[in-house]
């Protein structure tokens, strides 16, 4: 098992991710914070979801509730 001591920082992890080649290294810390914030909001809201909720539920809701 890897020790926490050797774990990469979020910014380092991002720097090695696919798609990161065009990003200025100085931006990575800001991006890490931003991604953490957005993921945190989604995960905090996730208890609203049931096993059977799917992405198409939105279109169904809007059309069912049409006025």
């Amino acid at each position: 098992m890897a020790s926490d001591k050797g774990a990469a920082s979020p910014a380092t992890t991002l720097m090695q991710a696919p798609g990161a080649s065009g990003i200025a290294p100085g931006r990575l810390a800001d991006i890490a914070i931003e991604v953490e914030r957005l993921s945190g909001i989604v995960r905090a809201a996730a208890p609203l979801l049931s096993f059977n909720d799917e992405p198409s539920g939105f279109a169904a809701t809007v059309n069912k509730k049409a006025r």
Partner: protein, 471 residues
């Protein structure tokens, strides 16, 4: 050529061309004259197509003489955000990357406007890739507020709002992924409508975020917006996300001075507003009450999660759209646009999909807990007056500070992109510094007719929409 004809409403201009009492050429010349006058200080056009527009206007006038009328917009000059594709033409999307890319298909909304007889006098400035609420554009020059060129016009459909406010076009289309029709409409004293998701086709409109993009019209009045929506609304086999819900006759509900039978919830949102904005909103509520609407207070839930879960969808989709160019041409993006997109490259697939799943659940919850028992929700358009162009420039200021400011500018609008609900921005006065003020109404799914009815009744009782900015 007098430019006074350009001061007509779209509805009156269309009617007079149809009757033969006014030529399309005269209308088009009047709009072109104003477009050229205003362009130097406001930069609302990316391209003005005077010759093409005048040729089309002459053809419309010949039709009228022969007793033919193509549709409700016969001979009426319009202009649109430069992101609606037309086969054989370039649509820049406000970007350097697309500035030479000739499109091979025409957007459904343009096909429908063409079939209705509309004339296009040019294409309008916008935020690069429709990403940004201010109107800055480093590639084509910044667009500026119609009422004060030192201030931002709002974005991303900056040119659409300014051209309509300046009376350089009778109406315009924009796109709204997170406020991009309603905010510039509010900041330039015109009406802007974001329809229900699925009401208007996105086919051939440059995408920013497929799930959150809404195409919507700008006009000087609710009636003008209704005429444009009538033409562009409805199912499109080329856009599978469009709804088969029937399109009502929007004009049929307009014209009533009274809003009897309508219940409007007045949002208790808990956000501190600039005093002038708060006073104008209060007065708009009093006007709506005088027109016969029943008002009820509504305690609004925290809109933050709706804003942020929606942001997750936008960033994830925008990153997928732009990943290749972000890797190969990062220097061709402005800082502001690149910064907005980059985070999406690192969101997890599970978080993105959960955000999409939450959309249906949170929409059902909002309808049940907030909109149940009311027809419309009354909200601020923005908590802030438009900042200056200089103080909100992401190329020269701290990005994190400005991204925070931009979130605040759109805090009352972006949640309704996530919920997919129709919303309209309506002018309700001027600040002491002469900048437009506006309120927002939000409706039930596909209740655009109710929004337009309320906005039209409000405009019959007020004249804020009659204020024409001066050069």
């Amino acid at each position: 050529m007098s430019t006074d004809l350009a001061l007509l409403d779209l509805s009156e201009a269309a009617e007079r061309v149809a009757r033969g009492s006014l030529s399309s050429v005269a209308l088009t010349e009047a709009c072109l004259a104003r477009a050229k006058e205003w362009q130097a200080s406001r930069n609302c056009f990316i391209r003005i197509d005077a010759d093409v527009a005048l040729e089309a206007a002459r053809a419309c006038d010949r039709d009228v003489k022969q007793g033919r009328r193509r549709g409700p917009l016969h001979g009426v000059p319009l202009a649109h955000k430069d992101m609606f594709y037309r086969a054989g033409k370039v649509s820049t999307g406000g970007s350097k990357i697309l500035q030479d890319q000739v499109q091979t298909a025409t957007a459904t909304v343009l096909e429908r406007l063409d079939a209705a007889g509309a004339i296009e006098i040019g294409v309008l400035n916008m935020a690069e890739f429709a990403a940004g609420p201010t109107g800055h554009n480093i590639h084509f020059g910044h667009c500026r507020n119609a009422f004060n060129a030192a201030h931002i016009p709002g974005g991303s459909s900056s040119g659409s709002a300014v051209a309509v406010a300046a009376r350089a076009a009778f109406g315009a289309l924009g796109s709204d992924t997170g406020a991009s029709v309603r905010l510039p409409a509010a900041y330039n004293g015109v009406v802007g409508l974001k329809p229900t998701y699925g009401r208007v086709s996105r086919h051939g409109a440059m995408p920013r975020s497929w799930s959150m993009d809404h195409v919507g019209p700008f006009g000087r009045t609710a009636r003008d917006v209704a005429i444009l929506l009538q033409v562009i609304a409805g199912h499109d086999p080329s856009d599978a996300t469009t709804s088969v819900q029937p399109v009502p006759d929007y004009l049929n509900v307009l014209g009533a001075a009274r809003l009897s039978g309508l219940t409007i919830g007045i949002a208790d949102h808990g956000v501190s507003l600039e005093p002038e904005i708060a006073a104008a909103l209060d007065e708009s509520v009093r006007v709506l009450e005088r027109t016969g609407a029943k008002l009820v207070p509504i305690k609004l839930p925290d809109l933050g999660p709706l804003f942020r879960v929606g942001e997750t969808i936008i960033k994830g989709e925008a990153a997928a759209l732009h990943r290749q160019w972000l890797e190969t041409r990062p220097q061709d993006y402005s800082n502001g646009v690149r910064f907005r997109i980059e985070g999406g490259l690192f969101l997890s697939a599970a978080d993105y999909i959960d955000a999409l799943r939450l959309r249906g659940v949170m929409t059902a919850k909002f309808l049940a807990e907030v909109l149940d028992g009311i027809d419309l929700l009354h909200l601020p358009a923005s908590a802030y007056l438009p900042p200056t162009v200089e103080e909100s420039d992401m190329e020269t200021s701290s990005s994190e500070t400005l991204l925070g400011l931009f979130s605040k500018l759109t805090q009352f609008m972006r949640p309704f992109n996530f919920l997919g609900l129709p919303a309209i921005s309506v002018p309700c006065g001027l600040s002491s510094s002469g900048l437009p003020l506006a309120y927002q109404l939000v409706g039930h799914p596909f209740a655009e007719a109710t929004l337009l009815r309320a906005a039209d009744a409000y405009q019959r009782a007020t004249d804020h929409h009659r204020v024409v900015p001066k050069l």
